[in-house]
Structure formats: C-alpha cells, structure tokens
C-alpha cells in the first residue's frame, strides 16, 4: 500500500513528465522512421503472407535509429577507443554551447516581457564582430581571445540594443523588428563575406580566413575533440545570467518590467532605458553564441555561421522556462539531438528532418503535462491550492 503510494507519487510528479514526453516523441518519430525505411517498405509488400517480416523490419529500423542516436549523442559503446566512446557526449556539449548561450539571451528578454525573435541576427552580428577582431589584430592570447569574445558580445548587444532603442523611442513592435533584422543581418553577412572586410585574399568562395590562433577559444580536451573553451564561457554565463536576474538590481528591474510594466513605471523604473538594456543584454548573449561559433567551433566566418541556433534558442529558452539552468538542460537536449542526428543518418539512413519532428514533439509534450498524463494514463498530481 505504501509502496503503491510511492509509485503513484513518483508518476504523478512533474519530474517524470520530461521522460515520458521524450518517450512519446520517440514513439511518434519511430513511426516515421519505420515508414521511411526501405526494408520495412519491402517487407510490408507481403505483409499479409508473412507479417513477422514487417514487424521485425519495423523494430530493426526503429531500434537501429535510436541506437544510433544514442551512440551519436551520449555514449558510443561500439567505438574502438575510450576516446571514441565519450566523444559523442563532447559533441553534444559542443552543439549545446551556442544554443544555450543564445537561449540564455532569449530567456532574459522573455523574462523581461520582450519577445526577441532576433537571436539569429544577433548571433550573426556577434560572429561578425568577433571574426573582425580575430582577423584584424595580432595580440597575445590573453588579450586577443577575451577581446574577440567581448567584441562578439558587443556586436550582438548593438544589434539587439537597436531594437530596444526603436521600441523605446518609437514604440515599434519588437517582434516585427527582430524578424526583419534577422534578414538584414544575414544579407549584410553575405555581402561582407564577398568584400575584403572578411573574404580571404586569393579566395574565391565567401569564406573568411580562419581567425588568428591567438583569438581562438582553445580546445578543452585536446585535438581529437571539438569541445572548446566556449563551453566554459557558456557555463559561466548560465551562472552569470542567474546572478543577473536573481541577485542584481538590474535583473530585478528586468523582471519587474516583464511581470508588470505599469507597476515598474510607478515605482520609478526607467522603462525605455530598461527596454534598451534588456535587448542589449539579450543580444549580447546571442552575440557570444556567434563569437563561440566563429572563435571556437568553425574558426572562420561563413554564411552559415548562425545555423538555426537562433530559432532553436527560442524553443530552448521557453522549454527551459526562461530559467538559466532549465535553459542549460534544454540546450543540452537539443545539442544531443543535433549531434545524434548525424550518426542516425550516416548509420541508418534516417533523414535528418526526423530530428526536427522529434525535437518539436518533445517540446510540445513537455509543455503539456496533462497530455502526456492522459497518453500514458499517469495518475494526476494532487490538486494544488488555487
């Protein structure tokens, strides 16, 4: 009886929701994986004469795919060396770095009541600024690297702060402006990559030279791994954002603005200035994501520098409930899916797009605990007092 209660307690708690949400999404993704699998298609051709073939083909395809996802993102038990075994996890963290940084930025703005969809553009600006510093100077590492990272922060902060400035002075809706600024930033990057500002001499393709060695974020685990110092910066930023939002007067004012702008105004908080600050901080963090990409991961500036990190960051921020540690967890989840997707495709031929499907269903399920409960017939949590 007591044990039953305990089980009930566990399954009614909110902690199991993410687990079941992931499970539900994988089930859904599994259907698509099986659907796309050629062996399944073949075996289903004679389903009625030998159903066992189809079933085993379905199981093979689905388990094969998720096995590959696991091996590609967490632990590769098939690898020949210990290094190879843990490499997937480091890859996951490497992908999680920019996503989390940008996600933190968005979390700051969402918490402050501003809907910044412009991380994509802010990442690009951060990357451009960081790349510029990384390419143009020759300085000792201890000066150059931090300077390049700060330049990235500055680039994102300027591009984001401009949105805040427009909102503060003209009331322009930040959703519209940030959407438009994403396009503008990308076009500007495309253009600049074809001019001497970034394009390498004797290079025809729109790719910059690699940034100077002294400006790079050094690798953490050595040559075999892509994990770089950006991870440390990212982790530091998780703590910094937490501190900013919960232990500093600026963050306090951000949150006051987000929860109740009119009370904030009545209490003497300078709303227009806060708009600008919020967007600058938010953009600055996204800009650091760009810097981390250009100084740590890619080491050169390309048109694809921002990837889809800016959009992933929206989901990551919201999935992490705008809490820095939540954002970190969500960022790692997304990093894992991104890194696992590659092996899933290389090993099992599963189309990459499946990851988008799984990613988005996970978020939907996590966001809607009652749905997950009803899908798995989990008990309801005890009524919370209104």
């Amino acid at each position: 009886m007591k044990q039953q209660n305990l089980v009930r307690e566990i399954f009614s708690g909110n902690a199991v929701i993410p687990i079941f949400a992931v499970l539900a999404s994988f089930l859904f993704g599994g259907i698509l994986i099986a659907f796309a699998n050629e062996e399944v298609q073949q075996a289903s051709g004679y389903f009625f004469s030998r159903p066992g073939d189809t079933i085993s083909a379905v199981l093979n395809s689905v388990f094969g795919a998720y096995d590959a996802l696991f091996r590609g993102s967490i632990f590769n038990y098939q690898a020949s060396s210990a290094e190879g075994m843990i490499k997937p996890l480091t890859e996951t963290l490497a992908y999680a770095t920019p996503i989390t940084l940008a996600g933190l930025g968005l979390a700051v703005s969402f918490r402050s009541g501003l809907f910044n969809i412009g991380a994509q553009g802010q990442i690009i600006f951060g990357a451009m600024f960081a790349a510029y510093v990384g390419l143009s100077f020759e300085l000792p590492f201890l000066i150059h690297m931090p300077m390049a990272v700060l330049a990235g922060l500055l680039g994102g902060a300027l591009w984001g702060g401009l949105v805040g400035l427009l909102k503060a002075t003209t009331g322009a809706n930040e959703v519209v402006v940030t959407i438009m600024f994403n396009y503008v930033a990308l076009l500007l990057l495309t253009y600049l990559l074809k001019t001497p500002v970034f394009q390498a001499p004797n290079q025809v393709n729109p790719i910059s030279s690699p940034v100077a060695e002294s400006s790079r974020l050094p690798g953490i685990l050595g040559d075999g791994f892509r994990l770089h110092f950006g991870l440390i910066i990212m982790l530091a930023m998780v703590v910094a954002v937490w501190w900013l939002m919960h232990r500093s007067s600026i963050g306090y004012q951000f949150r006051a603005l987000g929860y109740n702008p009119s009370a904030a105004r009545t209490a003497g908080i300078n709303i227009p200035l806060t708009y600008i600050l919020v967007m600058a901080v938010s953009g600055g963090l996204a800009g650091m994501a760009g810097a981390s990409q250009v100084l740590g991961a890619d080491r050169q500036l390309t048109v694809g520098i921002s990837a889809t990190f800016g959009f992933d960051a929206i989901t990551v921020a919201l999935l992490g409930r705008n809490n820095p540690f939540g954002v970190l967890a969500a960022g790692i989840l997304f990093g894992g899916l991104r890194s696992g997707a590659v092996l899933m495709q290389a090993n099992q031929g599963v189309p990459v797009d499946i990851v988008l499907v799984v990613q988005s269903t996970i978020v939907l399920f996590i966001a809607a605990p009652p749905l997950v409960r009803s899908l798995f017939r989990l008990p309801k949590p005890k009524a919370v007092q209104a």
Binding site: L166, V176, P351
Partner: protein, 409 residues
C-alpha cells in the same frame, strides 16, 4: 507639449533626403510601359521627363510637409492620414523615377508580381487576424502555409484536380491550427512556444515526407496541375488594374473574397462581434453566454484553413511543385504585416502588398542594373518594414487578451 511632432519631423527629414535626388536625374526620361495587349484601348508608353516629374512630386511632398507642420505646430491637430499617403506616393514616385531613369518601367508586371508575392502573405495575415482577434497569438502561420503548400501539391498531383488540392490544403492548414488551438486553449501552453514549435514540426514533417516520398515519385506525387488564369470580362481590360487584378487565377480571386469576407465577418457580423469580444475580454464574453473555447477553436481553425489556402498558392498558383521549406519565412512576414496592419484584415493586406511591392521592386532594380550589390537591394523590403513600423505605426495595441489562456474557475 501637445501634439506629437513625430510626423512633421519625419516628413521634413524624408523630404530633405528626397530633394538630394534631383541633381541625379538630370536630362533623362522615364518610360513607363502600361500596355499589356489585352487592354480595352491601346495606351502608348508614357514618357515622362524625369526631372520635371520629380519636381512635381517634390512640390507635392513639400505641400504635404507644410500642411503637416502647420497643423501640428499651429493648429495643434493631427496630420491626416491622407496627407501622409500623398507624401508617400510622391516619395515612391520620386525614387522610382530616379532608379528607372533611362530605362523602361513595366508598371503592370511590377504590380502584378507584387500582388503575386503578396498573395500568400495576405492569406497568412488573415489567419493571423482570425487567430489573434480571438485571443490566440499565431506564430504558426509559417507552418500553416507550408502544410498547405505540401498537401495541395500532393493531393492535387494524385487527384489531378486543383480544387481538391486547395480543399486538402485548407484541411491541412486547419489541422495545423488545431494543434495550436489544442495546446494553447486546452493545455494552456504558452502560445508563442506552441507556434514556434509547430513551425519546426511542420518543416520537419514536410521535408521528411518530401525526401522520402515526393522526391522519388515526382510525376505521381509532386506534379500538380496549376491554376488556369481566368480573365474577368471587361474588368480585365482596364489598363494597369485590369491585367494586375482581374486576369488572375482562382486563388487570387478567392483572396479578394477572403479579405473582404474576413473584414466583414469580423466587424459587421454577430460572429465577428463575439469573436472579437473573446479576444478582448473572454470573461465578459463568458458572462453573456458566449462559449469562449468553442469560439476560439472555430476562429483559429478557420484562420488555419485560410493560411492553408494561401500555402497552396505557392504550389498550385505559382510554381507547380513543392520544394523543401519553400515558404521561406513568409509566415513571419505575414505576422509582421498583421501587426503593421493593426490586426485589421484590410490594412494587413495593404501592408502585405507593400511588402510584395518592395520585394518585387528590388528585383526590377536588379534587372535594370542598379549600382548596389544585390544583398542591399534584397534588404529593401525588410528595412522598409522596419522604417514603416517604427516611423509611421509606432505603438500598436493588439487584442487585449491575445496570448492569455482563458481559465474557468
């Protein structure tokens, strides 16, 4: 101290910029081609002396600026919208004259193309209007458009019927909207999360199905018939407007109907009154016996159907095939148009047309050979939108309850 001085100052600044153009258009002329061959009466190309024309336009702009200054500073009154529009017309004409001097401007094609680019945006913004007016923020327009584009291509290919194709697109769009509705209404999930995530989901699903299904069986699954152009007798023969507006495919005519229909439904019918009341103050609606939830589901899903229809324009109206991520952000632009158009279907359609015009204009400029790199021209529609939102629209107020789930105690 009283009237906002923003408008007259903005006009003065723009006028100053525009007047810089004059020296650059010396001694050239602008040829405007109007005729399309189907006109009721033939119109020769209009040849305007560039400088003279620009001068006339500048005088118009000057007059409007003066009016605005007078009204604001002397009479302490607002500048009428018509004056701003007239100023804008003058400005656009001046810039066009400058850019097209010495070349031929095919005004009809320019406008027809603008309309074509705007059609899916307009449908998208109608979806947004129906959804946000009832209190559900709709970021998922992109997903609705994409689902409509995919489904219509697939279904129309299989059935060889555009009508079944658009019908399927509407169903697909409203299913996507249903996801938005269920998650935001029943599960109280943040509407913006839901919208963003739905877009990712639909991109994933359609790309997945495209590469596993459509790409290998193009002739069966991805070669839909396209809409035939239908000329409306007489109307289509009016110069400029005729070929632009009335020699179009069914879906464009449906768009006209949809804009008018949504506008009338929202502002002139019982259904619309209830819908808007739910979007403003759901509890008040509840107290007069309106079923808040049902109204929200209905409206969001009808909106989704319209966006789905808009999506089918990509495949059945324009290009005759589905391509991965082919909507390419149109849903977000539609959302911007909706906000820019203050949640009003007609204004939103106008905003979408403006965007389509800017987009198409920059193509025209690329073709006549502009002195600017293509990237800067490609920025034009986006920058223009920001300028418009910041300079002209400013602070807008959406439906009061948008984004807030309604919870009954």
């Amino acid at each position: 101290m009283k009237q906002s001085k923003k408008t007259p100052i903005a006009l003065m600044l723009l006028l100053a910029v525009a007047s810089l153009i004059i020296p650059n258009v010396q001694g050239q002329q602008l040829e405007v081609r109007v005729a399309t061959g189907t006109d009721l009466f033939p119109i020769p190309n209009i040849i305007l002396p560039s400088q003279g024309f620009v001068a006339v336009m500048l005088i118009l702009m000057l007059a409007m600026t003066a009016l605005s200054v007078y009204l604001t500073f002397v009479r302490n009154r607002k500048t009428p919208l018509i004056a701003v529009i007239a100023f804008g017309f003058g400005l656009v004409m001046t810039v066009l004259t400058w850019l097209f001097s010495g070349a031929t401007m095919g005004i009809t094609t320019l406008l027809a193309g603008s309309l074509a680019l705007a059609v899916p945006l307009i449908f998208g913004s109608l979806s947004g209007a129906l959804s946000e007016r009832v209190g559900i923020i709709n970021i998922a327009i992109e997903g609705q458009l994409l689902a409509g584009a995919f489904t219509s291509a697939l279904v129309a290919s299989v059935t060889d019927s555009v009508l079944i194709g658009i019908f399927a697109a509407m169903i697909a769009g409203s299913l996507v909207a249903a996801i938005l509705a269920v998650f935001s209404i029943k599960y109280l999930v943040d509407q913006i999360i839901t919208g963003v995530v739905i877009n990712v989901l639909i991109i994933g699903l359609t790309s997945f199905l495209f590469s596993t299904l459509l790409a290998d069986n193009i002739s069966i699954l991805n070669q839909p018939p396209r809409f035939e152009r239908i000329s409306i007798p007489l109307l289509s023969q009016i110069p400029i407007a005729g070929p632009v507006l009335f020699n179009q495919t069914l879906i464009v005519y449906l768009m006209y109907l949809a804009v008018a229909g949504v506008f009338l439904a929202l502002f002139k019918t019982r259904w619309g009154l209830r819908l808007r009341s739910v979007g403003e103050y759901p509890k008040a609606s509840d107290t007069v016996g309106i079923n808040v939830f049902r109204t929200r589901y209905m409206s969001v899903m009808i909106g989704g159907a319209l966006a789905g229809l808009g999506g089918s324009f990509f495949t059945l109206g324009q290009v005759g095939a589905f391509g991965k991520e082919m909507t390419n952000g149109a849903g977000y632009i539609a959302l911007a148009a909706l906000i820019f158009g203050r949640w009003n279907p007609i204004y939103a359609a106008m905003a979408a047309l403006l965007f389509g015009f800017a987009l198409n204009l920059q193509y025209a400029l690329q073709i006549v050979g502009s002195p600017l790199p293509s990237e800067f021209l490609l920025m034009l529609p986006y920058v223009l939108t920001v300028v418009a939102v910041a300079g002209l629209v400013g602070k807008v107020r959406g439906p009061a309850a948008a984004g807030k789930p309604y919870v009954k105690s």
